[in-house]
Amino acid sequence: MIEIQHLTKQFATRRGPFTALDDVSLTVAAGSIHGVIGLSGAGKSTLIRSINLLERPTAGDIRINGRSIIDLRGAELIRLRRSIGMIFQSFNLLSQRTVHANVAYPLAIAGTPRDAIDSRVNELLRLVGLEDKHDAYPAQLSGGQQQRVAIARAMAARPGILLCDEPTSALDIVTTGQILDLLSEINRLTRVTIVLITHEIAVIRRICNHVTVLDGSRVLEQGPVAEVFKNPQAAITRQLLFAHEPREAAP
């Protein structure tokens, strides 16, 4: 379970402090798929990056399984990050390493023995459907295949949490569906808690149980996907929901 309480993040800019997150609170139940949706600049990227402390919050608290993480440093911070997987919009695979070596990376840096790494990598590549790509390099793969490798890599060390930072924003609509189905399947098999940010309502609809709508650095509404989308309260939620509808269909 992830509890985010009154999280605030300010950046110092040349024009003075900029507030990226303003008193954001949300709870992600263990094993759920929690979507955070918002437009560009809403603060969703800062929010997801706070969970593994790629961003250090200015105020507020983040608790993972009841334990506050925001002051973790050094070896404890490293241990936290190794217990959380993350995938990105731009995949971010190591370009000079094979698929096998990329998936092996989280295990290798944790000092896992060679044969244990090999069998785990085999298992993961079978799971993501790339068992014939062990020795390929990222540049030889399509975007969808690269994201599958990234997912295998993120899951290698059996994390309890998987952070997905716009995981399908660089992919076409068909590949997007396949990647989302894979994430859903992994959630079902491993009970990994997934936090996913996106600007596409279709992504939330397809795999999320819960949704948080973020706009202007604040939470506008949240709850089970079905409830929020059936009875959207915030104007921005309605805009996101009906952005693809013909003009007269929008309320």
């Binding site: 790629l54 370009s95 000079q96 840096i109």
Partner: protein, 236 residues
Amino acid sequence: MIDYLTSFFTAYGGLLFDGTLDTLRMVFISTAFAYVLGLPIGVGLVLTEQYLHADTTTPGAGRATARALHTLLGFIVNVGRSIPFIILLIALLPFTQFVVGTRLGVRATIVPLTVGAIPFVARLVEQSIREIPAGIMEAATAMGSTRWQLVTRVILPESVPSLIMGVALTLITLIGYSAMAGAVGGGGLGDIAIRYGYHRYQADVMLWTIAILVILVQVIQTLGSQLARRVDKRRL
């Protein structure tokens, strides 16, 4: 023409051959030594910089230290790069005498070549590392890499093609520097060009040394570029 070539190379072939070997020896050894110090300095320049900006990637405790270290490294590198090589060469003579016990010849030239190349190498390494997309560094950080793992498993392997281009550039730059060392008795092709071409007005010897220098530069650049391309897994 044939007669000229035969008589020229009978007279000077051995000299030019030895000079070429001396130049290559000086340049390759100096480049190797320069990377021993320049590579860590270049990595240090990037790491201390990231320490400054990413309040996130790294905990805040060492921020002041990182800032001081970054400024210090940058200052040393800039000072080193602003001294013209011919001045450095002469200024270092007592140091050279102290290190290798002589101020003349190939061994003596390796000292100023190395010292002169270190700041150059440090900047090249820094630039190569900066070419790595930020997302890759971020992913490696998010996976829980320690600082050492980040350097040895991500930063250096990811920048290998660019680092190879940097080595070729350093070798070529040092060929130019080594010719200057010839002016103060440094040995190698520059020494031959000055002694025969300048002091004895033997223009043909000088022209041949230049021809050899041009060939050396072409060969090193071509081999460097080819090797960099061959090891780079981004283009397949």
